[in-house]
Symmetry: C2
Subunit: 328 residues, 2 copies
DNA sequence: TTTAGCACTGCTATCTCAACATTGCCAATA
DNA sequence: TATTGGCAATGTTGAGATAGCAGTGCTAAA
């Protein structure tokens, strides 16, 4: 258990370091506390002993350790309400009737990335509340057609296919069959149903059903697949800790690795989660702040990625606010 | 007019510098030419005088100037045929029947960016050969619906809209009207036609026609708008000339600026065009190699962006090959 | 428990210095 | 006349050396 003064010092150091990106000296703090630098120094030594602070070299000021940030986030940080102007920018996006939810999310990520100078990520997909509304086929010419799938929550996906020698009749029959048998099925169960209920039937009387079947299958796959969007990768270039090309290259490679990004979504928690440095699976030098969201039509994960020296208080409340707007 | 030996020296310098990114000395060249370094030096001095070579400092080797690269591209460069493995990779993409052309292009850009280590860009849009095939409306519930537009070349675009108190009847009538009057219209003329032929009619008897009209209008807009895709921005991090964070930041900002990227498409030429350094409008430190393409369904511009010290011969033939495949 | 005082440490910037690669010029050469 | 070898001149690079500085830890006194 830390003393009140220790807490205060730790808080001041974390916040100063977040702003300035420079090790914090005992002198700096002695102004803000009513005691001498020597006193601050001995407190600092204590906090270092406990693992909350580090030095960059023997005679440098102190820098928060990962444990220091963790303690700050868990115990010291105060909520910093998102400001009016920022709120407004997001409101405008979410009140725009003509935008789909996924567009709103993408647009607001851009705004958030710009206002925080951190990288923003969304991993989203159609929620399983989406029920198949309609499958439609538009023939283009004798051997090209488009398959369009629509869910009751307004998701649309389509695919072009080329079929050799499949009569329009067969196609019509197949589509009719699908529309009769599986409309109303949750979108993520369609694949199974397609495989076990539809395929046996169409394979009986539709020649060359395979191509058609595959195309339809793929459309459903696309609609349920996670869609990854990373906004503002280059914000890291503004951070003083990413001042060398090797580090940047390494990080950018990770931000392009979809499998790795998938790991951001680790738990089903409904809260804002903070993963500092080695706590996240992405990179030891960054912090990932994420939350899950879920609406009728979409579900997924939102994350802000920045240096460990991140404005935790601000990001947490921005993310909270964004989540509210999405789930609205 | 350059002498044969001057040409040979210039060619060797450009090619050596492209490979090694290091100023080329007279000694290096004296091995490859049958003369002494002193001779090479005086030839180099001549080429510098003519503006084809530069020095990085008084006693450094020579580096090609922009004019040097230009002369190389226009007069010295030999076509370097794309190799079999690379060809194959692209073939596989273009022979995949289930991919739409725009997906093929995007996938092949990724391949090309990986194999060249340069950044690849496509600015594409539906070609005006696309004729409106069908407008379809899928009602979701009492006040949400989806508008889907399909062209005869297989382009699909859709939008969700929210309408208050618009009867299903009105919607049906509007859609029917559109389908009757403007199906078959080139997609880029639809907007005008919509405004002058459809709007007057529907405004007469469809109440709240405005929202519906806007939605449909927007879908057409989306379908004709240029779509920009930039692949492999981070390849620049592998280039030794982009070794400092400021340069990278600056360049990345430009690669994110869609208006600026639009300027890559400068002429309607059907050839491969090379814009070296200040010749392009993007950045003085890069070369843009681009070509336009046009098919039934899509048209636009492909570009490879790399350092001025770019493998011109390879990139030109890769781009040629890609263009063939697309238009093929 | 707090503080002033002070020696100590390591960083940073600047300077110097030598080694090196390379050039330009010139006089000798083929 | 074109080519070459020789050589001084130049700017780069990396390795010390040095001084100033910021900040710490320790100690003894308040």
């Amino acid at each position: 258990m830390l003393s009140e003064r220790q807490k205060k010092i730790l808080k001041l150091i974390v916040e100063s370091y977040i702003r300035q990106a420079k090790p914090v000296s005992s002198n700096q703090l002695s102004y803000k506390l009513k005691c001498s630098s020597a006193t601050v120094r001995s407190e600092m030594a204590g906090l270092e002993e406990l693992g909350y602070l580090e030095k960059t070299h023997t005679s440098s000021g102190r820098v928060p350790s990962e444990e220091g940030y963790r303690y700050y986030v868990d115990n010291l940080m105060e909520a910093k309400k998102i400001n009016g102007e920022e709120m407004l920018k997001l409101q405008i996006i979410f009140h725009n009737q003509s935008l789909e939810l996924s567009d709103c999310i993408n647009k607001s990520l851009q705004v958030i990335s710009d206002m925080t100078s951190y990288t923003a990520v969304v991993l989203g997909k159609a929620s399983h509340e989406n029920l198949l509304k309609e499958v439609r086929v538009v023939p283009l010419d004798t051997n090209h057609l488009i398959v369009i799938v629509v869910t009751d929550k307004g998701k649309v996906e389509h695919k072009n296919i080329t079929l050799d020698n499949v009569g329009m009749e067969d196609i019509k029959k197949t589509v009719e069959l699908i529309n009769n048998l599986i409309v109303g099925t949750p979108i993520d169960e369609v694949s199974t149903k397609l495989e076990f209920e539809i395929k046996p039937i169409i394979s009986k009387y539709v020649e060359q059903h395979q191509q058609l079947y595959n195309a339809i299958y793929n459309v459903f796959n696309d609609i349920t697949n996670t869609d990854i969007n990373v906004v503002g990768r280059t914000k890291f270039l503004e951070q003083p800790e990413f001042d060398n090309v090797d580090k940047i290259r390494d990080l950018f490679k990770k931000l392009d690795d979809e499998d790795l990004l998938q790991k951001i979504k680790r738990d089903d928690s409904n809260n804002i989660e903070v993963y500092i440095g080695s706590e996240n699976k992405l990179d030891n030098d960054v912090t990932v702040i994420k939350t899950n969201f879920k609406t009728d039509s979409e579900e997924g994960t939102l994350a802000i990625i920045g240096p460990k020296r991140m404005e935790y208080d601000r990001v947490v409340s921005i993310l909270e606010y964004l989540k509210e707007n999405i789930e609205g």
